[in-house]
């Protein structure tokens, strides 16, 4: 009985990989114009952005209903005795706590361990990927956990935002609030540090932001996985992928139009680079 992997929709893994590795994805919830949608299931980010253009309403996001975790665990418990759940940073969302409580509730059905990835988006996705591959190779639960935990410090993320208003309104701006209130127009650069949103710099133009993302990738001695996420700016994302071809095989770069829950917190114009790899010394 192989270990099975559960994650949340914020890991933003492409359906193809989710299916291939038998990963179970529990979606967060996005509420918009009086309706609730499962993140990435009932609503795509592209649709959300399209509707945000004309709607005065603001989307709201919430943790998956615990029943969704319970159902996922119950289903897997009938196939395996060991489950590893990997969630987005517990400092950004209560998803981790919900996953854990549900795990405790079913502790007599299966051995369920919950790991806080301390990151989000495809950086979380890479942690999930490493765990799922280890599980697929027949590793034990503790080996799978080990693989996931070793991956966490090797993930890195840098994002260029058009505006910080979504991040601020969603209450997750954290230390990046120092980038607010600039008297000149800036393109803020954002990262996650200790599981929280943190400032990573400010540049004066989109072109410089793109260069900063490229330089960020060049700062790695070796890259195992690379992904570009975007919020309704496919052309720029494709251009970035093209330039990243200099440091990593283009055809292996994952390109994602983020999930609606991520999009609701970043707004359109997001360009996000995530890396699994090892940094150069210094």
């Amino acid at each position: 009985m192989a270990v099975r992997i559960v994650t949340d929709s914020i890991a933003d893994l492409p359906a193809r990989i989710v299916e291939e590795l038998g990963i179970t994805v529990v979606p967060l919830i996005i509420s918009f114009e009086g309706r609730e949608y499962r993140d990435g299931v009932d609503l795509s980010a592209a649709e959300l952005y399209e509707r945000l253009k004309t709607s005065p309403a603001m989307p709201k996001t919430s943790i998956p209903p615990p029943s969704a975790f319970l159902q996922a665990y119950e289903k897997l418990a009938s196939e395996t005795g060991e489950i590893l759940v990997i969630t987005l940073s517990s400092r950004l969302s209560g998803t981790y706590e919900a996953a854990r409580q549900c795990g405790a509730a079913l502790r007599n059905r299966a051995r369920i361990e919950v790991l806080d990835s301390r990151t989000a988006t495809l950086a979380e996705g890479f942690v999930v990927l490493k765990a799922a591959r280890a599980a697929r190779a027949g590793a034990s639960l503790s080996q799978v956990i080990q693989a996931a935990r070793e991956a966490i410090p090797r993930t890195a993320l840098l994002a260029s935002f058009d505006t910080l208003k979504y991040l601020q309104r969603g209450g997750r701006i954290g230390a990046a609030k120092v980038l607010l209130g600039s008297l000149l127009q800036i393109n803020p650069l954002i990262t996650l540090r200790d599981g929280l949103v943190a400032p990573a710099g400010r540049v004066r133009s989109r072109a410089k932001a793109l260069s900063a993302l490229l330089e960020f990738a060049q700062g790695f001695a070796s890259i195992e996985e690379l992904a570009v996420g975007h919020g309704a700016c496919l052309e720029e994302a494709e251009a970035l992928v093209e330039r990243l071809g200099a440091v990593f095989p283009k055809e292996r770069i994952l390109l994602s139009n983020t999930t609606p829950v991520i999009g609701a917190h970043t707004g359109p114009g997001l360009l996000l680079l995530t890396v699994l790899g090892d940094r150069k010394e210094n």
Partner: protein
């Protein structure tokens, strides 16, 4: 009314139904007060939905209180919505465990159950925060333990608990700065109070209340509680200490016993391979050492809770920018630098360099004239000060934008120097009484002419930069800015031009091109 000394499952269901009705009346208000952890205005809706699911399940149970409480807990987790819903579900889970095996419950039984409920709720979050629903659960359990043996009548007992919960809710803004700032009490805490008030209302009115049949519409206006003044504060908390413990067969109970004496608000959550530990302790190192006996202690964090509001200060580096003109002073300040004029900077630098124990001061001279003075001061202060050699204000602005107070000196000097080097500067000033204007490029005199426009044109020719993203015009008078704007756009058709009132005392116009 006769004293009521025990509560059975039947009454418990009616009491829960009354609690939901009260929650329905107050849900909108709870939504409005929702500022923590994320101000997304859904605490009331989430608590209501979670409680409805829980009570619907409880309604199906038999009339033992144990059975009813167990059904309540089961429904609560399955139907939980949002963070408050998850915490509440664990509270009911604890209550059910505390009441296991009982047909009816006395005040002493309930007191024990509330203690268990509190413990499980704290364990539901790996980083408990005071000033929230958890604080009310904590105070509720304490109040119950204090009065259970005296107050056998459940109306008096629950009345006492409601008073304690009210005081506890009122204390939440003292414990949580974000509530204080918003002028509200914690919405989840208030939600639990509303539930208790509904329950008390039922006990006082008697069994005339209807059972819960599903969501009902509320007609009454929600009651708006006010913030009472003068609630007591608490002793210092010490360090909020957290870490991840990993091992092969973690015995959480043994770990709990080892860590308990080292602090309070201890939470150990996890399984036998991974556990997340949280404790408020005066000595985090002692906690890490004690935990180390059980497994690998990783992801260590120790945050001084008594200094939380100072967390943004105290970086590794401080920045001083020399500039004149009110707009420039404001601009540098907005970028995290201490701005100082050409006459005041030296004293400010000496003061900052001496004060910044353990951290380093970086100075941006921002003119060719100040640069050697700043270098000399560096020598005088024995290297407690570093200089990024910016010759113009735009170079200084670019350097300040790249400044990161958390980074060390070397990293900052590198990135600031690079950023400064990517900006080109044209400065235009009046050449004296004869109506001549002088243009400089990166501090070197390159052009002169009878009009600002002409001098800018000549300077741009000397710049000979084929392409540019952004130009910023720092002006003294708006017409000059207008002129420069159109000239720059004709020179670089795709450029973004921004104008800013710098108000420099000498330069008519400063233009940065990058």
């Amino acid at each position: 009314m006769n004293p009521m000394t025990s509560l059975g499952g039947h009454d418990f269901k009616l009491l829960l139904a009354a609690a939901i009705r009260r929650l329905e009346l107050n849900a909108a208000q709870l939504d409005a007060w929702n500022v923590f952890p994320v101000p997304d205005g859904d605490t009331g809706a989430n608590m209501l939905q979670s409680m409805r699911a829980a009570v619907q399940e409880a309604e199906k149970a038999g009339d033992d209180i144990a059975e009813t409480a167990q059904a309540l807990a089961r429904g609560a987790l399955r139907g939980a919505r949002g963070n408050s819903g998850v915490i509440l579900s664990q509270f009911w889970q604890g209550l059910a465990q505390g009441l296991a095996g009982k047909k009816t419950a006395t005040s002493s039984d309930l007191s024990r159950a509330f203690r268990r409920a509190r413990d499980l709720a704290y364990a539901a979050v790996s980083r408990p925060v005071e000033g929230t629903i958890l604080t009310v659960m904590h105070d509720l359990a304490n109040a119950a333990a204090d009065c259970a043996s005296r107050l056998k009548d459940l109306r008096a007992f629950l009345g006492r608990l409601v008073r304690a919960a009210r005081a506890s809710v009122a204390s939440t803004p003292k414990l949580l700065a974000v509530l204080r700032g918003a002028g509200v009490v914690d919405s989840g805490a208030q939600g639990l109070l509303v539930i208790l008030e509904g329950a008390l209302g039922y006990l006082r009115r008697g069994s005339a209340s209807p059972r819960y049949r599903g969501p009902g519409a509320s007609r009454r206006e929600p009651r708006v509680p006010r913030l009472p003044a003068g609630t007591p504060g608490r002793a210092p908390y010490g360090y909020c200490t957290e870490f991840l413990l990993s091992g092969t067969e973690l015995d959480l109970e043994k770990i709990r016993m080892a860590l308990e004496p080292l602090g309070d608000s201890l939470v150990i959550a996890g399984g036998s391979l991974l556990a997340r530990v949280h404790i408020h302790s005066p000595d985090p190192e002692a906690v890490f050492a004690a935990a180390g006996a059980f497994g690998a202690v990783e992801e260590r964090l120790a945050r001084n809770m008594d200094q939380d509001r100072r967390e943004l200060s105290g970086g590794a580096c401080a920045l001083l920018a020399v500039a004149d003109g009110p707009g420039f002073l404001r601009l540098f300040e907005s970028l995290g630098a201490v701005p100082a004029g050409k006459t005041a900077w030296r004293r400010a630098a000496v003061r900052l360099a001496r004060r910044a124990a353990g951290s380093r001061l970086i100075v941006l001279p921002n003119s060719a004239e100040i640069m050697p003075l700043a270098e000399r001061l560096r020598g005088e202060l024995d290297g407690r000060l570093a200089v990024v050699p910016t010759r113009t204000i735009p170079q200084g602005i670019a350097a300040a934008m790249a400044f990161d107070p958390r980074l060390g000196l070397k990293a900052n000097l590198g990135r600031m120097g690079r950023a400064a080097g990517q900006v080109r500067t044209i400065e235009i000033r009046s050449g004296g009484a004869d109506g001549v204007f002088i243009g400089s490029l990166d501090g070197e005199r390159v052009a002169e002419g009878p009009a600002v426009r002409r001098v800018l044109e000549l300077s741009l020719q000397r710049l000979s930069l084929p392409e540019a993203d952004v130009a910023t015009i720092y002006y003294r008078s708006p017409p000059e800015a207008e002129t420069a704007d159109s000239l720059l756009r004709s020179h670089y058709p795709r450029i973004r031009v921004e104008r800013y009132a710098g108000g420099h005392p000498v330069f008519e116009l400063i233009v940065s091109i990058e």
